[in-house]
């Protein structure tokens, strides 16, 4: 091979450069994997297994929304002996009591900006102007 001296180091440098994001992230601590807060109340069971909730919680919320608002499916959901009404404010946030420590951790990490909270009240927001009587 001609110009072995230049080509091989050049290739090594090229490969290192192209794979920069991979090995840089492997060694850096700049963006650790998010750790959403588990329910402070100690609930261990969700409406679906954690892996499924991780993948499909947005789909489930849409199904709940259409069921409640359009199809009259307002039935309660029983999880671990406790009953919940379908809804972000009425089911999810009963256990995951902090939007900031639960929802936001992953949404910020993945740069997802859902608009749930434009209308729905976070527990923190609701407590801000609580009923006085």
């Amino acid at each position: 091979m001609y110009n072995k001296r230049f080509i091989i180091p050049g290739l090594v440098i090229f490969v290192l450069f192209v794979t920069f994001p991979l090995w840089f992230n492997a060694f850096s601590t700049a963006s650790p994997v998010p750790k959403p807060e588990l329910p402070p109340g100690g609930e261990k069971e969700c409406v679906a297994p954690a892996s499924e909730m991780r993948d499909r919680h947005m789909v489930l919320l849409n199904e709940w929304r259409d069921g409640v608002l359009r199809d009259g499916e307002r039935d309660v959901i029983t999880v671990g002996g406790k009953q919940y009404r379908k809804g972000l404010q009425m089911a999810c946030m009963q256990c995951h009591t902090s939007k900031e420590k639960f929802c936001d951790t992953c949404h910020d990490y993945t740069s997802v900006k859902p608009f749930c909270w434009d209308c729905h009240l976070t527990p923190e927001e609701a407590a801000l102007k609580k009923e006085t009587h």
Partner: protein, 280 residues
């Protein structure tokens, strides 16, 4: 060459003639026998339904099926008691996180009050009684049987539920305000600004709305699902001024009152068939 053309034209003409006359020939030869026998049978079979149809038409209204929720406001019990009206309005607005904006353009109202001639323009007349002139009337979404707002909504954000409630899915509302144009009762309000700062107390069981969304009375659909009564009714319960129930159930409380009393609806000539009735 000439011979061939002659031949071609003859064949083409004959074919065209046969094609045009074929359906007529088929009809003339095959159908009379079948048609005549079919006709007799059909006439016999049609006899009964035709009679039934006539009977249904004569019976004025066919018995409606399913639930149709309705509300009756007995204004006689509100006369001279504006505080009772305010109580009903406040209860609704608190339960549904309705902002209190003191600005005619931006205000949000689910239930509100207005003078007689504004509420019942078709019923107003000169020399009306003192009671009519001095009292405000309670108004809200009429949850029409033929809701114009539902017809004009381009995203199906507003729709009629099987129980007669004209409901809204705020998630789908794009804020085009066609429904506000469509509604002849002015029952819809638009959020010109973020309503949150104007909400005095939050009901944690109900969401607020965001800027750019239309909202209106939902007949307390979320409370009825829990077996509760509408918030306005509950607030003035002891006065018995508001009655709520199934208009299709002849035994319901609201039907009893409707059968007994003389009631009116808002703008009946528009044909929207409101579910809200008034005793004035």
């Amino acid at each position: 060459m000439d011979k061939q053309r002659r031949k071609f034209l003859k064949v083409a003409g004959a074919t065209a003639l046969a094609g045009i006359s074929a359906p007529a020939v088929v009809k003339l030869t095959s159908s009379p026998a079948i048609a005549s026998s079919e006709h007799g049978a059909a006439a016999d079979a049609h006899g009964a339904p035709a009679d039934a149809h006539k009977a249904a038409a004569h019976g004025a209204e066919e018995a409606p099926k399913g639930v149709r929720l309705g509300l009756l406001v007995d204004m006689r019990k509100f006369y001279g008691k504006p505080e009772l009206l305010d109580k009903a309005i406040a209860a609704c607005h608190k339960v549904h996180n309705v902002p209190q904006i003191d600005n005619r353009k931006s205000e949000i109202k689910w239930v509100w009050k207005a003078p007689f001639e504004n509420v019942f323009p078709e019923h107003s007349n000169s020399h009306s009684s003192k009671i009519r002139k001095e009292n405000d009337f309670l108004i809200m979404c009429n949850h029409c049987d033929e809701p114009p707002c539902v017809r004009v909504c381009p995203t199906q954000a507003t729709y009629r539920l099987p129980n007669g409630i004209v409901a809204m899915d705020f998630h789908r509302c794009i804020g085009c305000r066609f429904c506000m144009m469509g509604c002849p009762y002015g029952a819809r309000s638009f959020n010109w600004e973020n309503p949150r700062p104007y909400i005095k107390e939050y009901n944690p069981d109900f969401p607020s709305r965001m800027r750019g969304v239309v909202e209106k009375c939902n007949f307390c659909g979320e409370r009825i699902a829990l077996g509760k009564e509408p918030a306005c009714l509950e607030a003035v319960k002891e006065s018995g001024a508001i009655v709520f129930g199934d208009l299709n159930d002849p035994g319901s409380e609201i039907r009893e009152v409707l059968d007994k009393e003389n009631t009116i609806q808002r703008k009946p000539s528009l044909g929207t068939k409101p579910s809200v009735f008034y005793i004035v």
